[in-house]
Subunit: 340 residues, 2 copies
């Protein structure tokens, strides 16, 4: 067990004061008028003895931990995992480390996690907030912590956020179906009041209205047992035989939907066209390949961390709220081929 050396050890060894060393390490040698001779002597000593300042002590005295708290819905989801990956990379380049965790969309768990991050003195937050966390988010901001919401936001809170243009993306996807000879287009969504879900629905509704098509919205439960969701979708499709296209509000709903459609013996494409919101590796691998609204993950990640870093670099009073909306990509694949 090799003991690490401290700034005090160096001070003793060279018979100078800690402050001098601190100034030199932090590049303030000239500013603080430390002679070149001493500066180099110290630098050399550090180099030879492999000294690294303790981040803990640094954090304690500066009040900065250089840690960013990243709270996503579920880190094992492809979308969030990719987000985390990109955010982390840029954070590292800027000297920040990431604490990340999954909220599971559970308000209680999220509250605990926010408290945990607060306890750990993270410098800033990137959060995909579950519904109903307005108070907690607001109090974070009030405390002076930079916060960037991501993927969804609270209309009633003045916070920075980075989101997809869900409405437009959803409108375009729905319009595409309407313009490609599909006559009864169902929208399958979650029973949730998250902002992004509502926006997706509204985009669909607008497109249907413009094309004089029937609005068929089915809200399904998506819990721990995907089989339940499949069952519900089978029932829905049985009761709505006129439906010839299904537009799923999330990719995992599409997974269950495809299972349901297969169970009913419908053909994709042919009897049924499908689109999924939020692309997935598997959509390109499945037979048939599945048309999807793709979120530009790396762009969303870049924007999120960019906004957060800009907040972190400004003092409390100068922090302006930044609201960023990023357009989606529409990836046309086999599952939306014109019905026969």
């Amino acid at each position: 067990m090799i003991k690490k050396i401290s700034i005090g050890d160096i001070a003793t060894a060279l018979n100078i004061s800690k402050s001098t060393i601190s100034f030199i390490i932090n590049g303030k040698a000239k500013e603080k008028r430390i002679s070149l001779a001493l500066t180099e002597k110290v630098l050399q000593y550090i180099d030879e003895n492999g000294y690294k300042p303790s981040r803990l002590a640094q954090s304690l005295s500066t009040g900065k931990t250089m840690i960013i708290g990243l709270m996503v819905e579920k880190i094992s989801d492809y979308f969030f995992a990719q987000m985390a990956y990109h955010i982390e990379e840029i954070a590292y380049q800027n000297g920040y480390k990431i604490f990340y965790c999954s909220t599971d969309n559970d308000p209680d768990k999220t509250r605990e996690l926010i408290q945990l991050f607060r306890d750990r003195n993270v410098d800033g937050y990137i959060i995909t907030p579950p519904a109903g966390m307005e108070k907690e988010i607001q109090s974070l901001i009030d405390e002076g912590s930079p916060v960037v919401l991501f993927d969804r936001y609270y209309p009633d809170i003045e916070s920075s956020y980075v989101i997809l243009d869900n409405f437009k993306a959803s409108y375009n996807a729905s319009k595409y179906l309407a313009e490609h000879a599909f006559a009864h287009i169902a929208f399958i969504t979650l029973d949730s009041d998250q902002s992004q879900m509502e926006d997706r629905k509204q985009g669909y509704v607008k497109a249907m209205a413009e094309h004089g098509l029937e609005v068929i919205v089915e809200k399904v439960l998506y819990g721990n047992d995907p089989a339940q969701t499949v069952k519900q979708l089978v029932r829905f499709l049985r009761q709505n035989k006129r439906v010839d296209a299904v537009y799923f509000a999330t990719n995992y709903l599409a997974f269950s939907g495809v299972k349901a459609i297969n169970q009913l013996g419908y053909k994709i494409p042919g009897t049924m066209g499908i689109i999924a919101f939020d692309d997935h590796q598997v959509f390109d691998f499945y037979e048939p390949t599945i048309t999807a609204v793709a979120q530009p993950i790396s762009e969303l990640a870049r924007q999120s961390i960019r906004v957060l870093l800009s907040l972190l670099n400004k003092p409390f009073e100068e922090r302006a709220v930044q609201k960023v909306t990023v357009p989606a990509h529409f990836i046309i694949r086999d599952s939306t081929a014109r019905p026969l």
Copy 2:
């Protein structure tokens, strides 16, 4: 910006000393003979004013950060994401927080990350090490940091590890193919010398030998462009027409393999049986469903964090090396139905 109160603030407010408060907070009131009256007074004050000790200060003085460093190959992979999820949960229950990151199997990146974790004073490590990190791992152990290797290990280092019984699992999977009328079974693996890959290969080789079958091993490159891998597999299958079953050493190789097989117009099952090592959600969703060797992720996670916690709870001298091997599950699905 509300300023947090410190232990010193309480001391001033109640006109008592910091040490007294510290003892009370840490449940040492009786041991340190603090009167019940004072104890309750302090506790009440803390409750009313919402005091929380600074973890930074605590870490600085105790030398413990209560942070575990978790380094996986790629956090966006389903397997590692799930691992992280389970490990994190148990870590939280024990008061630990997780720093996690992806090595991308890159030795240089890994070295940097280890340094980063070291700088951040993590209390212990769980690592899926890329090849050739023996020196770095050894020096971590020498420094007194508890380390648990996971998924793979270094035969030459006396470190704790938790791995799957890759050899046996692979042997069983290969045997299954051999016993189900497949005559030319190819093993597709990475061009890698990681211990778990070698074990999987050896399991396959043994099963082939026992059944008097030809050993057909193809090492493919898996880089940033999966299309390249698909190309290579198409070429391989074209040149080896006798192959009637393919056993993939990882799930993502299976993805590329299925693409290749589809491109060639082969039927699964029928012309070709396939097995993937390491299960994936999609294998159960794909048509046909794909037989796989499943790693018991939650068990692996539980064991890893259990071993690490047991090391963390012991002083340096008492830490015994723990080597844990966990058996796999073999999940038989449609893709290994008997050839026609």
